[in-house]
Amino acid sequence: MVKKIEVQDLRLRYGHKEVIHGISFDIYRNEILGVIGPAQSGKTSLLRCINRTIEFTASAKLSGTIRIDGEDVQKVKNVYELRRKIGMVAPLPVGLPITIYDNVAFAPRAAGMTSKSDLDGLVEKCLRQAALWDEVKDRLDSLGTKLSGGQQQRLTIARALSHQPEILCLDEFSIAIDPVTTMRIEDVLKDLKKEMTIILVTNLVQQARRLAARTMFLWNGEIIELNDNDVIFSDKPVSRKTYEYVNGIFG
């Protein structure tokens, strides 16, 4: 298995408060890695370190290295290209106040794609992948912000796919979507796994169990356990805490 992302001794501080305490792990190419853990355990911060949007938080200081395909992301000069390699879906749906079409075409345009036919094809492909195409194909020029919450979340996913990322980070993507749509997107993710590496941060332990091959249990900025799903979701994971969290005894 080829390592896609290698994280070594990652530490993150906001001001004087350390929120990630030196964690190390690898993510393999074309796997879905589940990340579970209670609130404030550093899941979202970890994702923001990977695509370097953590830099927009002035008080954040990080040490350690994150490598993507062996390349240290901290030393990447073209940070915009780096972010385009990583699709990011935030927990709360964000439809930008531009048309649905422009929402999806925003990233490719920012990257310099201008051909109308290329953009049309890409917009349709991404909206189909996000299971939204059938609902919006007749009103691509209405505002993204006027969609319902669940539709906006799928629009967010379509936007994350629009720059053809190699890594897809989903941060609790299903909290604003109904179960049926969630299932449809989960099916999409299983397909996407063939093309990209997926980090699935989720509050739904069962979602990680369904989709991921391996799951990481983060707690208070430390990895309690990172293991194959057979072990994590068995009666005897390595850590007692994992067992308790997965089975809803604490957390």
């Binding site: 949007t53 699709g87 990011m88 935030a90 964000v94 106040p97 925003f106 920012a110």
Partner: protein, 308 residues
């Protein structure tokens, strides 16, 4: 069917009857609403009285010719053309300076600047500058533009002084307009690899434009009404210009201004007709209200297309 045949529902005690407590609550609700409403009304009354009073007092002199003719006979007769045009010049030139500088620096402060000691000082300076009395701006303008920079008393020196005065307010209102665009829009753009500028151009500016424009236009009334900053820097008591020519002033000329003219006529000119100062005030107030009304229309139009 005979209506009386319809069985009458037995009268039951509703669970939603008014108790004394609820009635008290309703009374308080009415009293609160009344007080707030009265206060809101109290805001409107002075404005109506002022406008009505001015119009009645100024009535004998009000005509189209009052606007298009120069003052004559030691400013006792004629119109306000040279003062009216001078005010337009001062407002337009000063806003042409203050609006770009103010808006762009607000974009920097709100979108680019990191929270550190430098930004804190700049923000503090902006706030304090907005609170400086206009007479102090006047002295600064006299010292910096007229004397030190050697521009001399002119429309350009007076406009620069007015621009310094309005800029902090434009910065503050623009920053507020920019901050009203939710942060998660920006984060969504950054996540897909857009630069800050692409984010500002594509999302932030189009959605804060109405607020920015309103803030700028509201400064027109302030600029038009100030007397102190232009008194030492470019306004004169009397000047004769070509009537009906919008380009009668050069930027290096000194000019008349409505606010200054009003001050002069009401305090310095003896035997001026009683209606004259009121008529000048009507012209000043009327043009300011006209511009503000435009601002409100623009804002209503842009808000009606509100996107979230």
């Amino acid at each position: 069917m005979n209506p009386s045949a319809i069985p009458i529902q037995p009268e039951t005690v509703s669970r939603f009857t008014e108790t004394p407590l609820i009635r008290k609550k309703h009374r308080r609700e009415l009293v609160a609403k009344g007080i707030f409403g009265a206060m809101a009304l109290a805001m409107v009354i002075p404005l109506l009285i002022i406008i009505g009073y001015l119009l009645i007092k100024a009535w004998p002199l009000l005509s189209w010719g009052f606007l298009t003719h120069n003052p004559t006979n030691g400013m006792r007769q004629g119109g306000v053309w040279s003062a009216f045009l001078g005010t337009i010049y001062l407002v337009v030139v000063s806003l042409c300076i203050a609006a770009p500088v103010g808006v762009l620096s607000a974009v920097y402060l709100n979108e680019y600047a990191k929270e550190n000691w430098f930004t804190r000082i700049v923000n503090l300076a902006v706030l304090n500058l907005a609170g400086v009395p206009s007479i102090v701006h006047a002295l600064f303008g006299l010292g910096a533009f007229v004397l030190f920079a050697g521009i001399g008393r002119s429309i350009i020196a007076a406009s620069l002084t007015l621009a310094i005065m309005t800029m902090p307010v434009i910065i503050a209102s623009t920053k507020e307009a920019l901050a009203s665009v939710p942060m998660n829009f920006r984060e969504a753009c950054w996540n897909v690899g857009a630069s800050r500028w692409q984010t500002i151009k594509g999302i932030v500016l189009p959605n804060s434009l109405s607020g920015i424009l309103t803030g700028v236009i509201l400064q027109v009334s302030r600029t038009a009404g100030e007397t102190a900053p232009i008194m030492f820097t470019g306004a004169v008591f009397y000047r004769d210009i070509v009537e009906g020519n919008l380009f009668a002033y050069k930027l290096t000329d000194q000019c008349m201004a409505l606010s200054m003219h009003l001050f002069a006529v009401s305090t310095q000119v003896t035997n001026a007709p009683e209606a004259l100062p009121y008529a000048i005030a009507v012209v000043l107030l009327g043009s300011v209200l006209l511009v503000n009304a435009t601002a409100i229309i623009v804002r209503t139009y842009l808000r009606s297309r509100k996107k979230w």
